[in-house]
Amino acid sequence: MTDAVAHPTPHSGSLLRQDERTRRRNNAERRFRLYGQVAIGIAIMALVILLTSVLGNGLSAFRQTFISMPVTLDAAVLDKKGNRDPADLKKVTTIGYSKLLVNSLTQVIEEEGIVVEGLASSDIKDMISDEAAAQVRDRVLGNPDLIGQTVDLKVLANGRIDGYLKGRVSMESAERDSNVSVNQLRLTESLVERGIIGKSFNWGFLTAADASELRPEAAGLGVAILGSAYMMIVVLVLSLPIGVAASIYLEEFAPKNRWTDLIEVNISNLAAVPSIVFGILGLAIFINFAGLPQSAPIVGGLVLTLMTLPTIIITTRAAIKAVPPSIRDAALGIGASKMQTVFHHVLPLAMPGILTGAIIGLAQALGETAPLLLIGMVAFVRDFPAAPPEGLFDPAAALPVQVYNWTQRADPAFVERASGAIIVLLVFLLVMNTAAILLRRRFERRW
């Protein structure tokens, strides 16, 4: 023990006054902080721009224009034979119901004393959505007692009328637009003043099925949300047990040799494979070889399972690795078997990490579009799939694919719908990611 440690040569100058070198070092540090702040600023700006454009375009999709009016469900039109026989009632098509609605609206306009010069009767017909007749028909077929009564109905207005209330269509654009006339807009204004036409919350956007180009006002996300949910069930049921089993084996039981190294490298590689490749694989194996149906959530779920597995395996292994060896040693030391150690001690402690990984993997799978395009989930599907497990084999859409679908439609009203669908998708992702963070916060243990 000597004091022979060389003292650094004492710095000349004052502690209170920075010399050239300190200043340079401090400047470098300040610059670095600035770079960091600029980087974060750019990221935040990109996010703000994205969110404003999506919210600005899409929020209006959650409000829809409806026409509220009393409709007389005339028995002479809907049930000519008067026997309320369902087979006879079905013979009246939506065209018959549509006429009924037009008559009711015409009557309302007359009663209110609204006069618009040059208004043709076809103008009134075009103000009501084609979907309205189908909805009324479904309601009457479901409850034939309604026939003969006068009911207060709230029916969808045409997409262009909706566009006028939302500012997408104006008097000037209507003059050039072959799908709407200025007279219709004038009539709309008078009806809005009297409270007959108005906007209200659009539940249909979340519950209804997709609609064709002729009725954008009726298009909804119901089938897509259901399809996505079914796929997530399949992904969760398959990828969580398989992924966890694989990671436990690899981490706790498998010998460390060339084979396990090879498997490890391949799992990491799989995690980086572009998702479209899984789509091609799914098409070849599940549809062409195994003969599973097209457009079905089961196939989508299987493909997404393949995609999610590596993510789950990697996070699960990390979570298991993070459990300190002392826990295992203690369990083994008091005589527990290897399996008891893993299932009674390691797995419960690793659970929060595993669940976080699973949720993040699911969130990734939820937003995945490319592989679904190849297995027929881009289809136009209007019927809701049945309850699982049969429903897993019925055709359905998926949320991200629905966004893709709607951006390709000709009618400008679908722009708003596509952005609205993005908002719904983002909300789901936000909920899932929040759940992952909460789980981690709540159950995470530090050693």
Binding site: K90, T93, T94, I95, D130, A134, R137, D138, V169, S173, A174, R176, D177, S178, N179, A211, S212, E213, L214, R215, V237, L238, L240, P241, I242, V244, A245, I287, G291, L292, P293, Q294, S295, I298, F343, G376, V378, A379, F380, V381, R382, D383, P389, E390, L392, F393, P395, T407, Q408, R409, A410, D411, P412
Partner: protein, 341 residues
């Protein structure tokens, strides 16, 4: 242990449900041009009949026909939509997979329009103008030379002096075929370039379809919404659209005339407007009577209520077939298509 049990039971469940399932809805794929019409019919079919709504997919005419020809059975589609006529190679593929009888149903005509930004200049084109604007080689003073035309006024003195910039459908689109045949080839003939090429040794005048590569003609591989967005960003450009797309966006686009004719359902039905094409769908006959509702769906598709001149298809921009009655008869009797001639 538990995890393994769950996995096994899940797989068993999936397998059991799969075996019990039989398809009860019609499946359709093919042309993205026919897709909107097919969804309109499917929607109306679903709400007025007791059958489930058919599932309709896009993907392109060629891809749809290939899918149709994959074989017979529930895993293959029932109907392929197509914006061009089926090819002999498709029929051969079908035959090799056991799909022998196909019904060809012509549902109407689609027009292709040339449109620019609403606030831009007005154009009156002829196919020759388009050829002289976009082709790689044009005839100048009787000789075949590289195309150096910069503005539309260079092409034709009557057109505005606006830089040439055209967004045309990419080669994978059925629309491109019509553009090639009805516009470029027609223009090639009209300007005498075809003759000059034949004289120079290109016997089939294949050079007619070679376009300039200096950026004045841009292939759009996406759909019409992309073309519209490009025109929005590039007010000087002229785009190629389907008639129905244009009719849905008349508040943004100004349509050009072709040979002095304004495109409309009337001028296309009468055959005056030169750039139009028939639309088809092909039905696998082996699936009739097996897939519930298939016969009813095709009957409904070609019925006057749907495909007639006052029906929703015409309202959306499809041009009704003047020979619709013949098609209805053919569909009702289930006549398969004759060999291509």
């Amino acid at each position: 242990m538990k995890a393994a049990k769950i996995t096994v039971s899940a797989l068993a469940l999936v397998a059991a449900a799969g075996a019990a399932e039989a398809r009860d809805q019609i499946q359709i794929a093919g042309s993205s041009t026919v897709l909107p019409y097919a969804t309109i019919v499917a929607e109306a079919f679903g709400e007025n009949f007791d059958f489930p709504t058919p599932v309709v997919e896009g993907g392109g005419s060629g891809a749809g026909r290939k899918k149709l020809c994959e074989g017979v059975g529930e895993n293959t589609i029932d109907i392929a939509n197509s914006s061009s006529r089926i090819k002999q190679s498709d029929i051969d593929l079908c035959a090799s997979n056991g799909v022998n009888e196909i019904m060809e149903v012509r549902i109407g005509y689609d027009g292709i329009v040339f449109a620019s930004d609403l606030n831009g200049a007005e154009f009156a084109f002829t196919p020759a103008d388009w050829y002289n604007a976009l082709a790689a080689k044009v005839v100048k003073d009787g000789v075949l030379v590289d195309n150096t035309n910069k503005t539309w006024a260079d092409v034709n003195g009557d057109l505005p002096a606006q830089d040439i910039l055209a967004f045309i459908p990419g080669t994978k689109h059925g629309t491109r075929e019509v553009f090639d045949v009805k516009v470029l080839e027609a223009g090639c003939e009209a300007t005498g370039a075809a003759e000059a090429m034949k004289a120079a040794g290109d016997e089939k005048a294949e050079g007619c379809l070679a376009l300039r590569t200096d950026g004045v003609s841009v292939d759009i591989d996406g759909d019409y919404t992309e073309t519209l967005a490009r025109i929005d960003a590039n007010k000087n450009a002229i785009g190629v659209f389907g008639l129905s797309f244009y009719q849905n966006n008349t508040d943004k686009l100004r349509v050009a005339t072709m040979d002095g004719i304004v495109p409309s359902t009337e001028t296309i039905a009468s055959g005056d407007y030169p750039v139009s094409r028939p639309l088809f769908f092909y039905v696998k006959k082996a699936h009739l009577g097996v897939i519930p509702g298939l016969q009813e769906y095709i009957d409904f598709f070609v019925s006057d209520d749907m495909a007639g001149p006052d029906g929703p298809l015409a309202a959306y921009g499809l041009v009704s077939d003047p020979e619709l009655a013949k098609t209805q008869e053919m569909v009702a009797s289930g006549t398969p298509m004759a060999p291509l001639n």
